[in-house]
Symmetry: C2
Subunit: 267 residues, 2 copies
């Protein structure tokens, strides 16, 4: 764990950490460089314990002690020691928890792996990282086996997703679909009963759908984007269309709340 | 609707809008001045339609047309017209939706009003505005009648709460408790069955608790802070302690997801 004190925000060794709030910059940088960022001691520990390999750490000095055991376990990984002001200058925001790590990105599971699991949550175009993180946490907590993401859904390894997921993104299997149009037919072929959650004509109460599920039936919940919900394509391809009964005059629940209810009711 | 073009971020007429990201500044400023901020055309409309009186509007020029009807309906309220750059300089962030309003804060309901309603969600020390907003939206959507907030819970009229609640904060009755220690006994006295959601010894499956509720029974769900959950005091004062059964090794759901499940199951 070579300790390297950094004195300038322009130091190229900090390239992994620049402008963490600039979503479009980060999206390119992280996928092209094959990295992701973990923020805060707890999340960093979980990532490393889950076997993700750190590229470097960026720490304010006061974090050296509390992370000493972890740093000792990764002896070749550089530790960049910075003031909090410098960390803020590089990242573009106040790093509340004072500790960041850059880790190697991995695709740990294939879509085929996921299709062997019994209960899946499938995210169509959910573009908000907070929602993706919250849904992963929910799915894991409520006993679902994995998450599939449509090509345009937000990145589960984006800093904010990871933070909200509280590490579930490291433990719960997930994979990215490459074929949006063929996704639901593929799931049906793999034996899933596909349940679309949507405010669509003919949708049935989710409790009624839940009551019909067999004890060992493979189930996939389909969840759509924050604004417009699921695409017509996915809705018409699904076996069931379910709604959570709502009060008149109220907009739908946000997608993370709807996912929580659906994961609970269909579990 | 006097249109006033503003050329400087220091113009004292913009005092309602300064540093919207500075939570502690805003907390003091908004409660002392008796105002709250609505962001985005949709939310501004809902606030005005719900009868909240605007103090002023802060708009980029391109929003004048789409809000023309609303501005015409509030002829005495000044409309400050600014460039997006100036709006950013004043508020401290890029105002994505280009439109802000400052409105008079009102306490529309008393705790006594709320205690006349059948189904309440009660927030202990939930300090995150996003969570408060999400829970209000959930409670309204799933047919709960009102929300009580403990003295330290976050402000439902804070900009971020309002945004996440999607206007439910204007339609759903809510009130602030002044007595934390006496809150649960007071609710029991008012005839509620109080159900604490907590990972506590002896907690029962929430589905089991739900099955015992009578069709007209008054019910209050108690929800605790993000980190530590409900206080021991509220847990021991409650009639029931319920948990949402979770997978081993996973942290609890976040409080907004747990609230969604609880509002659904106990509805």
């Amino acid at each position: 764990m070579p300790l390297i004190t950094i004195g300038s925000a322009d130091d190229p060794r900090l390239a992994d950490y620049v402008r963490l709030r600039d979503v479009s910059l980060r999206r390119h940088l992280e996928t092209e460089q094959g990295l992701f960022i973990a923020e805060g001691e707890k999340v960093i520990r979980r990532a490393v314990e889950a076997g993700f390999r750190p590229r470097s750490f960026l720490l304010a000095e006061r974090w050296l002690d509390s992370l000493a055991d972890l740093l000792a376990g990764t002896p070749d990984v550089p530790v960049f020691v910075v003031t909090e002001a410098l960390a803020e200058e590089v990242t573009g925001f106040h790093v509340h928890r004072g500790a960041l790590a850059s880790l190697h990105r991995e695709s740990r599971h294939s879509v085929d792996d996921l299709l062997g699991l019994r209960r899946l949550v499938v995210l169509e175009d959910i573009v908000d990282h907070t929602n993706v993180g919250a849904i992963l946490r929910c799915a894991a907590g409520l006993g679902w086996d994995g998450v599939l993401l449509a090509p345009r859904a937000a990145d589960p390894l984006y800093r904010r997703s990871i933070k909200v997921a509280m590490g579930a993104v490291f433990s719960l299997p997930w994979a990215r679909l490459t074929d949006w149009a063929g996704a639901v037919p593929m799931m049906r072929e793999a034996g899933y009963r596909t349940v679309a959650l949507a405010l669509a004509d003919g949708a049935r109460d989710i409790g009624e759908v839940a009551a019909e599920l067999g004890p060992d039936e493979k189930v996939a919940i389909l969840l759509g984007t924050e604004g417009d919900g699921l695409s017509q394509r996915w809705i018409s391809d699904a076996d069931d269309v379910a709604i959570i009964p709502m009060q008149a005059g109220i907009d739908s629940l946000n997608v993370a709340a709807a996912a929580a209810v659906a994961c609970y009711v269909l579990r």
